[in-house]
Symmetry: C2
Subunit: 610 residues, 2 copies
């Protein structure tokens, strides 16, 4: 044991020293937040995090999520110690073009990092998702999440704790680095480890507190965590800047690199630069589950009016029989989003996350990191609750398939709190995202199938009301495409989802007046079919875009963007969308009030032609 203790302490000193070296070299970063975690990370990487270095993506590997992402230097130092990166690469910390970023982000060069962190409080939910994926695959692997104490003020942490306890993921452990000091001063609880132990217990976790610089205690705690029948929280009392007397437990040293002379003294105090390499423990032997052959059933087809939300659920229920990697998450609204259709026919593919959108998206990110094809669904309005998680998932290059139901004022009587009116703007702004908005059952089926193979963040917006079927089952709906559902030469009406149907009604009325309106189904809001829109704008000279969404950031902005540019099309563009605060009412009343129904479209075309 004495040998191991010395080895761990030596390794911890190296991790601390390397954190100082890389941050001082970079001229910025978080050495003190790394030093508090050095012993915790050293013992974990040396003897607990079972990893096949030759196969970093193996589902048999244990996973580590650094929720306190600003302590990235200590993670990179550990990756150097295990031989995953070399010292020179580690010293590119925070440099332009380096995968060794200021906060951990997965890149092709850094397969050891599987989730982006740095927006605090997101690690536990990601860890939960990973733990659930391991359970699905019957892998003996475990997940370790390292939390900071400042981030424990985020409700997302405890939302994930609740969900993890409910799902009984005994293969999840969180280590809370209680270093007392936040960015601007003492944390809320400072040294009160008991506050966190009591809370974790109240959520149904096993919990204990230890001296976070006592490597034997750390090793014992990690062993204890592995033996529980529930998730475990280890609260580790640590010192920010541990081992460096000039900064240890002192305020004013968050997120600051040590100047060169201080760094030199600090490294000397920690015993000098060393080059320990460690071999992490091997994963347990594990055989992947036998692949399940696709049922080969036909996808749903529709001839009668159906709500796109219902078609979404039925398509997923079908897809569950075709893809054994499919997982569907529900935010306790499965009878509204129709993920309940999956729960009914394929419960093994379904996970109930209750009303906890942040935990749902975080878990989805973790499941996706371990190779699952994951859809999640709630009301489009409530995805706003997890917008930061979606943003971080995009930084993490995660493939998230999101569905937001109950789009726009068309939900009717429930009122504005339940109306998705900002979702297109929010999701369009996500890097590399795909934003889809089908108008009928047939296109929904096709777009859900497309989403299942689409990388990055993809979003399907669905409608509460039933809408008529517009398309035959053999039509194709490629992402980035559109459908010209009616030809016309005097004006172009661009709709999506519910407003496509209003556009078609408007085109009928305009035809009675001798105005020939082309109608385009812009089911792919991002990427948008610029070529078709440009031809239509050029042909007709007038484009009226109609959306059940705020006028800012949604379909109207997307169409204007498609028509602008150095080679922009000279056409008048009229944008109809929601510009005031709705109340309750029937869908028809509210569309009329918002000025996005057929009457409003007809009026807009006439006014623009006058």
């Amino acid at each position: 044991m004495d040998d191991r203790i010395e080895r761990w302490n030596e390794l911890a000193a190296q991790l601390g020293i390397d954190s100082i070296r890389s941050t001082t070299e970079a001229g910025s970063g978080h050495p003190t937040s790394s030093l508090s975690a050095a012993h915790l990370v050293a013992v974990l990487f040396a003897d607990h995090l079972r990893t096949d270095l030759d196969d970093p993506k193996s589902p048999a590997n244990d996973r580590f999520v650094l929720s306190k992402g600003h302590a990235a230097p200590v993670l990179y130092a550990a990756l150097k110690a295990v031989g995953a990166i070399d010292d020179a690469t580690m010293l590119t910390l925070r440099r332009f073009g380096s995968p060794i970023q200021g906060h951990p982000a997965p890149t092709p060069e850094l397969p050891w990092v599987e989730a982006a962190t740095g927006s605090l409080g997101q690690g536990p939910a990601i860890g939960l998702g990973m733990a659930l994926a391991m359970r699905i695959d019957e892998s003996p692997a475990r997940v370790w999440v390292m939390l900071g104490d400042s981030e424990a003020a985020e409700g997302s942490v405890w939302e994930a704790f609740e969900a993890a306890a409910y799902h009984g993921v005994a293969n999840l452990a969180c280590v809370l680095d209680l270093n007392r000091l936040g960015q601007r001063g003492p944390t809320m609880h400072e040294r009160d480890a008991g506050a966190f132990v009591a809370r974790a217990n109240a959520y149904g976790w096993h919990a204990l507190s230890i001296d976070g610089h006592d490597v034997a205690a750390i090793d014992g705690a990690y062993r204890e965590a592995a033996e529980q029948d529930r998730p475990t929280l280890i609260v580790a009392n640590t010192v920010k800047g541990h081992g460096v007397s000039e900064v240890a437990d002192k305020g004013g040293w968050h997120g600051k690199a040590l100047p060169a002379d201080m760094a030199e003294r600090a490294i000397a105090e920690l015993g000098g630069v060393r080059s320990i390499t460690i071999t992490p423990p091997k994963p347990e032997p594990w055989m992947p589950p036998a692949p399940v052959a696709p049922a080969g059933a036909a996808a749903p087809t529709y001839t009668e009016a159906i709500a796109t939300r219902k078609a979404f659920g039925e398509t997923l229920a079908w897809l569950a029989g075709e893809r054994s990697d499919l997982v569907v998450l529900d935010g306790e609204v499965g009878n509204s989003t129709h993920t309940e259709d999956v729960e009914k026919v394929a419960p093994a593919h379904f996970i109930q996350m209750y009303i906890a959108e942040q935990a749902m998206i975080g878990a989805q990110t973790g499941l996706a990191a371990l190779g699952k094809t994951v859809f999640s669904a709630t009301f489009g309005a409530f995805l706003a609750r997890a917008y930061d998680q979606i943003r971080m998932a995009s930084i993490g290059r995660a493939d998230l398939r999101l569905c937001g139901s109950h789009a726009g004022v068309s939900i009717g009587e429930d009122g504005p709190s339940q109306m998705a009116l900002e979702d297109l703007a929010a999701l369009r702004a996500i890097n590399g995202s795909t934003v889809l908005y089908p108008a009928d059952g047939t296109s929904t089926v096709h777009l859900v199938r497309e989403m299942a193979d689409q990388p990055g963040i993809s979003y399907l917006r669905t409608t509460r009301e039933a809408t008529p079927v517009l398309y035959g089952e053999d039509e194709a709906f490629p992402i980035g495409g559109s459908k010209t559902v009616r030809e016309g030469s005097d004006a172009t009406l661009v709709g999506a989802g519910i407003t496509l149907h209003e556009s078609l009604k408007a085109a009928d009325r305009l035809a009675e007046d001798g105005i020939s309106a082309r109608v385009i189904d812009c089911y792919s809001v991002k990427p948008i079919d610029a070529a078709t829109l440009r031809v239509a704008a050029s042909d007709t000279g007038l484009v009226v875009v109609v959306e059940d969404h705020r006028v800012e950031g949604g379909l109207g902005d997307a169409v204007r963007d498609a028509l602008a540019g150095p080679d922009g099309v000279a056409a008048r563009i009229v944008s109809l969308g929601v510009t005031e605060m709705p109340g309750s009412g029937s869908p028809e009343e509210l569309r009329a009030w918002a000025g996005i129904d057929a009457d409003a479209i007809v009026a807009a075309v006439r006014a623009a032609r006058d």
Copy 2:
């Protein structure tokens, strides 16, 4: 006591009956979720919620926040019982144009509702804000928040509990209506009241559980809550659909109105329609604090380069001396956003919310509801964590003044997790919002002053780096305006914040080539100065918009929108913004990489003119 018990029970029956009447009349709504809460609401409104009906906005009044907003019918029934609305108005539930919406929303006709609810889990933070406002005003009033059990899965609930315990708001009580059934089936904890009591205790709350249909127990619990030195959680065991045997404790009845025949039987079972009126208890006598005279100090002025985030903090610190109603909230990043400048000179105006953005925005909403002028600040990226709270605040007609610092790739080495790149899109899409983005210290001072008097959701985007001062202190910066900082005739460069400075550099270089570029400071992104932009587009024929933000939803979309419309200006519009995922790097490297620096602007102008 017997008389009071009968009176409470009779009133509860009336509240249940009226909830059935209004929802059956509407044909939709949540009668069963109202019935579980009927006794809890009856006792509260009859004998605990101290309210001056003639002065609904008085700070001396107790406040009630219905966090489980779908139980709106029971709230409206209670408002009828106290005489705030009449029966006919109550029966307009969910009708178009009625203030009696499907979920509670404040409207001029309904001053009794002060916060929009219906996106679950937001009530406790709003209640915390109200409780803090009462403390500031030394009002003896109390806040009562009613939670559902499904929404207790939201981390935002416990984030607010944590903050409330930390701030020691003894004048806050939450009542958890534990009715066992969620929207789609049983809740996570079903009848386990102890789970919630233990948790609340772990957070430092006083907590107890009662029979939520035993009016004497309810009364006792409310009295107990009022006697504590800390916030109190009352877990009330209830029956969903209580008193109506056809639906009581049965699944499948969430969010469904009873058909007329069932409603008739239910009303009979509850004892028939009645018309009890109650007089709520009077508020305690209270004298508002003596007004503090403005210090009359001069606002900050700048001649040397300064970061707009720093100018923001200094302006707030000055404003604290001028406005006694000012409150500033920090998400534990006050040394980055510079709200620490307020903490230092005016601690009474400063509230530390730690890293808990949802609680911060919720508390801000509650403080604003009680008349405070409240600013909150964090990194712009982290406002995404509270996007749903911001959305709900806009529904609630709250005046929130938000500041997001560390805009764009220009933050540099910390990497994408800390970069606000979607904030303009998200905030532009909020109903009636104001989005401001100053480029120098002087304009920051003016815009912060404008925000202090601006209704609705206003957002100030600030920059990490110091930027040169462009304006003299006497210039005006009206919301909706812009500044033409350089005249030119060959092209228009539109920037804001950091990209204005890149645009100016580009204009210098273009001038060397004989290209005369007009440069516009679009400091007001929403509302945008369409008139000036249209003249510039018309004069120059080429508009290059440059933003340190995603190309979707931000300044580029706003400018295109301003130039489009039926009377659109025919100009080529080129949009430069962030289109890929950044990593770490220096601000200069990252602006060059994104194609938003002076070189990229020069290249774009040249390419467009070729």
